[in-house]
Subunit: 404 residues, 2 copies
């Protein structure tokens, strides 16, 4: 039994959330500060951006997760607090201290995440005031979970939230999550933030293994624009409130937990792609028949990152030569006479030349909101899948004057 | 003395060109087939796409250049003859044979290049008829050189042609070139074709060394969309008609030849970027202070390929955080506290944080048609430079329905 439920991050027992408008987003209404709190001690695991340029909150939170004593998180949208030097680090610490003081915790129990523009000092007094306004409203309600997902949005057009309940032995356990991300989305993470909560009892080691595996096949397999951000992070907190038998690696319970975690991460990742800046379509890129998985990964990533492939998808144009040629420069081993390419269920290329199908048949497979390219390398049995969105004029419009 | 002269590929003695409309471009008027002919035997050197998916003419011409017995080239726009299998190879050979028959040469003396859509069979009967119509019009005139540059265009909006005269000892020598390219432009090469001619007497070995060096710092340093094409090639033919003292590697004359060749290649490369699909601005990315050149190359390429950097340039938006963060994920060694970034002459980032300049000052450096980002890594003395263009709504419009 894996059932979808309401609430996102507040679906698991013992997790509360609240959000307010603290003044970082320029419109006077949208929430831009969110707090997440666990009533119980937690184990935590997290993954962070691979960008050498790391935002202040990423540096702070990396240390906090390592110490594994987290109880709460403070998240702001509208300012990334990246490339802001010592002043930025001090602002992160002040944000953590403000939330810790309100909750009677230590600052080192607070995870901090920021998203928004790079290189602008964070107006920390707004964060402090926002935290003070938010904490009294902390709630376990499903509405509070939904609001959390909405408050962390930047150029996102819709909140991204999901939760499931499932059984560990005879105990019902819950796992929920929220994410934001729309531009600067590239494999290995994205300008994306993810917050995952569970009331499962699970060892820290198992938690880390589960998160690593799930992120690799979800958030690390999506791309909007190939630009890896400075602020990416995904946090998974487990507070044990469900009182199930402890989950350890290698057990059936662990497999069940991973299955749901995969579902949560992949659901959120696909929501990010669907809400890619200016996106009108989701493009799934399957590469099969690779000799090694790395070969499939290289080819799928190059196809998903090609602006020409993405622009063709936007126009519903079955210009599959762009797909093949992207695989060709990807670094993956490719023997043209062996490779076969499908658009949806339609074989368009084999034996080194076009298959006998009409442009109209191919164009029909490019018209909907979901497009799938499948490239069979016919050199082995390994495969990989990436998801991306189309490249539209709106992407350019959004990014040509995000700053000013 | 290095003087610009008229004519492009026909500027050097003994080179003739002609072009016609053979019916590959859908409008009834534009020339889409061009022929280049040397009255004298030549030495040749060429570089080809690194894409594993190579078009039929690339496979054919690679062999012809290796044999070093070229006398002429036939070039078509409107169809890439890529992903077309054995039928595509036969079409290339037929094109070569048609031109050879007209000129009284062997088919193995003909270089073939194609550009246009991938995966559509080449209507070779149109090429054959076009060749027969073009050859009687072969001319050494400057106008014929200009027409050649125009006939090889696909989505280009302007022809790209340049030529210089210079002295080798006491002999006047000429070097000219034409190129096409607008989309699918990425380092290493592009959907670009380049044709370079010289009447210099130069050994084949020296010719190859000169071309390799010049291409590396020009055509391999430009990017429009990061998509390396299936058809890229640059050909350099030397027919010795100038009767100068033979040029050998390591001599003063070789240095002079390379200097002019660099000038020709870089001029053509910058024309390609300026004419990038939908481009309104040229962006120069200088990375200095690298410990090894490879580090500078990685950072400059990542910045030049970032759609977010390119979209910001389109909007004249001084969102320099995107530049720093692109360097951060590039794989280049970067110590944020050491790095400094300039937009034009304005220092915007140092000591890990924003410099004390106003957004208005920075925005002023983003307004013109030429933008320069300079990133100093402060870790050594190596550097590299890439050129790219901005990302505009027009890029998407052009590529959303190029096919249909």
């Amino acid at each position: 039994m894996i059932d979808p439920i309401e609430g996102g991050v507040t679906a698991p027992a013992g997790f509360k959330a609240a959000s307010v408008h603290c003044g970082l987003k320029s419109d006077g209404a949208s929430h831009d500060l969110a707090v997440l709190y666990s009533e119980y001690p937690t184990h935590s695991a997290a993954v962070f951006t691979t960008n050498d340029v790391k935002a202040a909150p990423v540096m702070w939170s990396t240390e906090r997760v390592r110490a594994d004593n987290l109880r709460a998180a403070v998240v702001n949208a509208g300012n990334a607090n990246a490339c802001t030097g010592a002043r930025g680090l001090a602002a992160t610490e002040q944000s953590a201290r403000a939330l810790a003081d309100q909750l009677g915790l230590g600052a080192d129990q607070i995870y901090v995440a920021s998203t928004g523009i790079i290189g602008v000092p964070l107006p920390v007094e707004k964060i402090v005031a926002g935290v003070e306004a938010a904490v009294p409203n902390l709630s376990h309600s499903a509405a509070a979970g939904q609001e959390f997902a909405r408050a962390i949005m930047t150029t996102d057009t819709m909140p991204k939230s999901v939760a499931f309940r499932f059984m560990v032995g005879k105990t019902e356990v819950h796992l929920g999550g929220a994410a934001k991300g729309s531009g600067m989305i590239a494999p290995n993470m994205a300008t994306m933030l993810g917050f995952l909560t569970t009331d499962a009892v699970i060892s820290r080691r198992a938690l880390e293994a589960a998160l690593r595996g799930s992120v690799e096949n979800s958030f690390n397999r999506i791309t909007v624009d190939g630009h890896t951000s400075t602020n990416d992070s995904v946090l998974l907190m487990a507070n044990g409130a469900a009182r199930n038998e402890p989950i350890e690696e290698g057990t059936q319970a662990f497999a069940a937990f991973c299955k749901v975690l995969n579902l949560v991460c992949l659901s959120l990742a696909k929501m990010i792609v669907r809400d890619g800046e200016g996106a009108t379509k989701v493009i799934r890129v399957d590469v099969t028949g690779a000799g090694e998985r790395q070969q499939a990964t290289l080819a799928a990533r190059a196809i998903a990152n090609s602006p020409l492939v993405k622009a063709a998808a936007n126009g519903g144009d079955p210009n599959w030569g762009r797909v093949i040629s992207a695989a060709g420069y990807s670094g993956a081993s490719l023997i043209l006479d062996k490779a076969r390419l499908w658009i949806g269920d339609l074989l368009v290329f084999e034996n080194g030349m076009p298959a006998a199908v009409s442009t109209a048949e191919a164009a029909a497979r490019m018209k909907g909101t979901d497009i799938c390219f499948r490239l069979d390398l016919a050199m082995g049995s390994e495969s990989d899948t990436f998801w991306t969105c189309d490249l539209s004029k709106e992407y350019v419009a959004i990014n040509a004057d995000y700053h000013t």
